[in-house]
């Protein structure tokens, strides 16, 4: 693959382009606002995220990808920028010895880059291996007794496990809504337990600390961190995303609904 090395400082040209881009964006926005038809209550799709360039490098990368600007030819880069007929065989042979484990990791949010600079391959690879195994162990719930993960840090998560004789969704919602915003509640009625997912890790921690062993509506509750903790970091501003994610991650997707309707009795069939 082609590696472009960007100097950490921006060249004058890049700075100018960046300024120009921002200006164009402001203009486009203004134009957008002008053009938006008045009778429509919502304007047509404003760009989803504000584009303040946190990182000029990223911005430049994006611009290049989108074809808005071209990379200025740099003499020292020319040797590195391989042409069409790059020797992939060589590259592969060199890295073939320590191939990354290619199994598919459903729960990993971050896939480490496969193609990395050669000298760093080994280090990264080891990192990746330990990362994966640690996650695997964690998912199977084989963390050490004191509740600490393999890396020594205390385990954290958004979802707590609640056990109590004949608890219901309503009871859980009432009891735990004081600790924070509840994203989702999943019940396993037949096992007398349920899972409550908060939007913040702190809420989950506080709920465990305060509620474990306490009585709610005459039921003694056992509260602990849920074993399965799917990592859900909001990646966009769609507000339903967290809910959908928790439901998708839980095994019993439909099990928790309780039908509150009355049973309908049918007459004799006279047809």
């Amino acid at each position: 693959m082609v590696y472009l090395h960007f100097p950490s400082n921006l060249t004058e040209e890049e700075q100018m382009l960046q300024a120009k881009y921002q200006k164009l964006r402001r203009k486009k926005k203004a134009l957008h606002a002008l053009k938006a038809p008045k009778q429509e209550p919502e304007p047509l799709v404003p760009l989803k995220r504000p584009m303040e360039a946190k990182d000029a490098k990223e911005m430049a990368k994006k611009l290049i990808k989108s074809g808005a600007i071209k990379v200025p030819e740099r003499p020292q880069a020319a040797t590195e920028k391989t042409t069409f007929k790059r020797s992939m065989g060589l590259e592969r042979k060199l890295s073939a010895a320590d191939k990354a484990p290619s199994g598919y990791q459903p729960f990993s949010t971050t896939h480490p880059e496969e193609e990395i600079h050669e000298s760093r391959v080994k280090v990264k690879q080891n990192l990746y291996d330990s990362f994966v195994t640690a996650r695997d162990r964690e998912e199977r719930g084989e963390f050490t007794r004191d509740g600490r993960g393999a890396d020594g840090k205390p385990r954290q998560g958004h979802t707590i496990y609640v056990y109590g004789y004949h608890i219901s969704e309503e009871v859980l919602k009432k009891a735990f809504s004081t600790f924070g915003n509840i994203v989702n509640v999943n019940m396993e009625i037949e096992k007398n337990c349920g899972f409550v997912t908060f939007d913040k890790v702190e809420s989950a921690e506080k709920a465990i600390a305060d509620m474990n062993g306490s009585m709610v509506s005459g039921i003694q509750l056992k509260v602990s961190l849920a074993r399965r903790q799917p990592v859900i970091d909001p990646i966009n501003d769609a507000s339903s995303s967290a809910t959908w994610s928790t439901i998708a991650a839980s095994h019993s997707q439909k099990g928790s609904h309780k039908d509150k309707r009355d049973l309908v009795a049918y007459d004799d069939n006279f047809f």
Binding site: V2, P41, E42, L44, V45, K48, R49, K61, K62, K65, S66, G67, F84, K85, R86, S87, M88, G89, R92, K93, A96, S102, Y104, P106, F107, T109, H111, P112, E113, E114, P230, V231, I232, I235, N236, D237, A238, S239, S240, S241, A242, T243, W244, S245, T246, A248, A249, Q253, K254, S256, H257, D259, K260, R261, V264, Y266, D267, N269, F270, F271
Partner: protein
């Protein structure tokens, strides 16, 4: 898949392995062939050793076996070449290595592929033809085929643009094949034959510039070009190729294993592709419909992580094509499909979830019709969410928000599919959604696409759940959107009905007759006491008695109101009564539908099911159904989805009927002629008696009647459309109002939907339609819908 297989492969790679040689002698020929096949098919899958060493090993194994198994090897290789386009470069490398070792084998392979290409273009298998051409192109990179001979073939393809007597879709298909092989061979041509390449591109450019785009408006998912321009597929690929050219033909997506073997391959001798003449256009030929490229995301939508390739970068095209191919390959197995999609080879370099969602949505919204059942995409998306819960649901939620934002200009066909998919998806996610974000829609005109979307989604959700639950899930501001409680209204109810309502007594009596399990005769007897309000004097005998039908329908549906099954049982039991009091009378059939709708006006699904039942039992004819939908009483329902569900169901039923009769006639004819030519009749034919000439004639008559009915149905539908649309336009014109209202856009969209969904059947009558209904003097807005449909095939 399994590790053992790969070890076998590396076994071959080690040159001195006497053990495996002995084993080979023991196994019989079939086993070796199977083994070769599995080796060839699996090369390039994940393996412990590098692809290059696997290819090298495989090439030497095949070389040793070429003499004994040449036919088989050729066949497997040529099949792989067209059936696994994502591995094109792997197989071209393999062929290149074999050609370097055995020149004759290379020649035979090229001949075989040329035969495949000829057969493909003759049989209108355009995808196969495109992949063969691409394979040839990549064989140039492997020094199997000479550059000149490829250029010649490409020009042959381009020459179809000069045929004046063939439709544009034909030349489009060939030009598309040429364009889509350029990412593979562009660089090679650019280095070796720059001028020839430029000449080729000039030809394409001229063609792309002058071609007509009349079909385009009908194939767009959105009317608006903001935020993403809606591009026709050939225009888009041309722009992507132009961008590739300006990058000096360097792309970063295609893996090219042959580069490693350059020293071996460059010494090989090259072949020429045998001369291929393309068959001329024939009226029976079918070509791929053009399409408009679906764009949902751009790089600003994807947060941190890899950047989404731009709309005009060739990578976007290559990745999308690959994802589409994966869906095609695994669409019957949703779990596997989701796993393969998420395991995309270049997943670290692209925002994969975004590209997958865009591609799946593109298939779901594809016009005129999606490639597979809509539920196939819905279930695939759920599997994707389960497999990648950390990211997939979030990307999907973002997609829904974008689609909702842009729904104002969405094509009505796609609107329906969006509603159905979203309702289905919600039903798998406990109907949880950030409904509060959409509160503003409650203030809108109920005909506004956003308000309508929410109304229809809740209706769909109710079908998959129940009203009470839906009412609890949505915020109270949406009370205006929550469907009414589905309850029957019985006109002759003793508690509510006016005492002197005509027929009240008879209805009461009829109810007790039915409850007492009365027979058809008893029911008819009870109904006979009703006077006929149509009778004016003693002499005239009206064709039907509206009061009878009214009393009967209301009572039957009231008694069968508990469930679908109850209602169906009631109708089935008294089919004879329907026959006797309604018969073939259209007025009578209309009353049946009207009364049914009066009883169940709050229960759309029941109405849909009952309409279906009436058609199946032939109580109501397809034509009457269409007339009822366009009738005055249904005006308030006209823009609701369920009405169109009924109409499309009606058309589909008619089409299926005609297709079935057509099949029967064809079969009978085949059996007859087949028997005459073939003396030794097999057992199979003896069992089925040969149809006589009269029998076939009778079947043909039946088919002709059915076809006449079908034609009549389409004529009715289109005529009613023209009537209401023209009326609207004229009234707006005289009142000085803008005609472009929500109602107008829904209605014209529905007209367009009929053309799209049933295009194959309507096509048969397009000549009649253009002379009878869609004449040149028609209002241009209405005529446009017809012209867009005609342009699909022109």
């Amino acid at each position: 898949m399994s590790r053992r297989k790969f070890d076998e492969m590396s076994e071959y790679a080690s040159p001195a392995d006497s053990g495996s040689a002995r084993k080979r002698r023991r196994t019989d020929a079939v086993e070796i062939e199977d083994r070769l096949e599995s080796l060839i098919i699996r090369v390039g899958e994940k393996s412990t050793s590098s692809l290059e060493s696997n290819l090298e090993g495989l090439a030497s194994v095949l070389e040793a076996d070429i003499n004994n198994y040449k036919g088989k090897i050729l066949k497997i290789l040529s099949d792989c070449a067209v059936k696994m386009p994502e591995k094109t470069t792997i197989y071209t490398t393999l062929v290149g290595l074999l050609n370097a070792k055995n020149y004759n084998f290379g020649g035979e392979f090229v001949d075989m592929m040329a035969r495949k290409l000829k057969e493909a273009v003759k049989a209108c298998m355009w995808k196969t033809a495109r992949y063969v051409l691409r394979f040839f192109a990549d064989l140039v990179n492997c020094h199997v085929i000479s550059t000149n001979s490829l250029l010649q073939l490409l020009h042959t393809f381009l020459d179809t643009a000069r045929d004046d007597n063939s439709p544009q879709v034909r030349s489009d298909t060939y030009v598309y094949a040429v364009l889509s092989c350029l990412p593979w061979v562009g660089r090679e041509l650019y280095e070796k034959k720059e001028q020839d390449l430029e000449r080729l591109l000039k030809h394409i450019e001229i063609y792309v510039r002058k071609r007509s785009r009349k079909h385009m408006p009908g194939l767009r998912v959105w009317r608006s070009d903001r935020p993403h321009p809606q591009e026709e597929y050939l225009d888009c690929l041309w722009a992507q190729i132009c961008k590739l050219r300006s990058d000096n033909w360097q792309e970063k997506h295609i893996a090219r294993p042959y580069v490693a073997f350059d020293s071996i391959l460059c010494e090989a001798l090259q072949h020429n592709i045998p001369q291929i003449t393309l068959p001329p256009h024939h009226s029976d030929n079918t070509y791929t419909f053009p399409w408009v490229v679906f764009r949902l995301f751009d790089y600003t939508d994807c947060p941190e992580g890899p950047v989404l390739p731009g709309a005009h970068s060739i990578e976007r095209y290559l990745i999308e094509e690959h994802l589409h191919n994966i869906i095609k390959e695994y669409h019957l197995e949703r779990k596997q499909c989701a796993a393969v999609l998420l395991d995309f080879p270049l997943k670290h370099k692209i925002p994969l979830e975004y590209m997958i969602v865009e591609v799946v949505m593109a298939e779901l919204f594809h016009l005129p019709v999606p490639r597979y059942l809509e539920i196939c995409y819905g279930s695939l998306l759920i599997e994707l969410c389960k497999l990648q819960p950390a990211t997939m649901p979030q990307v999907l939620a973002q997609a829904v928000e974008l689609l909702f934002d842009r729904i104002d200009t969405m094509n009505v066909c796609c609107f329906d599919r969006f509603v159905n998919w979203f309702g289905y998806h919600l039903s798998n996610f406990q109907f949880k959604w950030s409904w509060d974000d959409w509160l503003e829609a409650a203030q809108l005109d109920p005909m506004h696409p956003r308000a309508k979307f929410i109304i229809e989604v809740l209706l769909k959700a109710m079908r998959l759940s129940y009203r009470q639950r839906i009412a609890e899930v949505v915020p109270e501001q949406f009370d205006c959107f929550v469907p009414l409680k589905p309850e029957p209204v019985y006109k002759f109810s003793i508690d509510t009905a006016d005492a002197d309502l005509p027929g009240l007594d008879t209805a009461q009596r009829l109810e007790s007759v039915v409850r007492a399990k009365g027979s058809t005769a008893e029911v008819l007897q009870t109904l006979a006491e009703l006077p006929n309000p149509l009778r004016e004097n003693e002499d005239s005998e009206p064709t039907h008695n509206p009061l009878q039908i009214q009393v009967f329908l209301q009572t039957i549906l009231h008694l069968g109101s508990k469930s679908f099954s109850h209602a169906f049982a009631g109708i089935s039991k008294f089919l004879k009564v329907f026959e006797s009091i309604v018969g073939n009378n259209e007025e009578g059939q209309l009353i049946v539908l009207r009364e049914m709708h009066d009883v169940w006006s709050t229960h759309q699904q029941m109405v849909v099911m009952l309409c279906d039942k009436f058609l199946r039992t032939q109580i109501v004819s397809c034509a009457t159904m269409a007339n009822w939908i366009f009738s005055k009483e249904m005006t308030s329902e006209f823009t609701k989805n369920y009405i169109w569900e009924i109409l499309h169901g009606t058309i589909r039923k008619m089409n299926k009927h005609v297709a079935k009769l057509q099949r029967e006639v064809n079969e009978a004819r085949e059996r007859r002629t087949g028997n005459e030519s073939d003396d030794s009749s097999s057992d199979d034919e003896e069992q089925r008696p040969r149809p006589s000439e009269e029998e076939i004639e009778r079947m043909e008559e039946k088919l002709e009647t059915a076809q006449a009915d079908q034609k009549n149905l389409f004529l009715i539908i289109f005529q009613r459309f023209i009537m209401i649309l023209s009326e609207h336009l004229v009234r707006c014109d005289t009142d000085g109002r803008d005609f472009n209202t929500h109602w107008y856009r829904w209605t014209i969209g529905r007209l367009h939907q009929i053309f799209m969904m049933h295009n194959t059947q309507v096509e048969r009558y397009s000549q009649t339609l253009s002379t009878l209904l869609f004449t040149q003097d028609l209002e241009p807005h209405i005529l446009d819908a017809f012209n867009q449909f005609v342009a699909l095939r022109s």
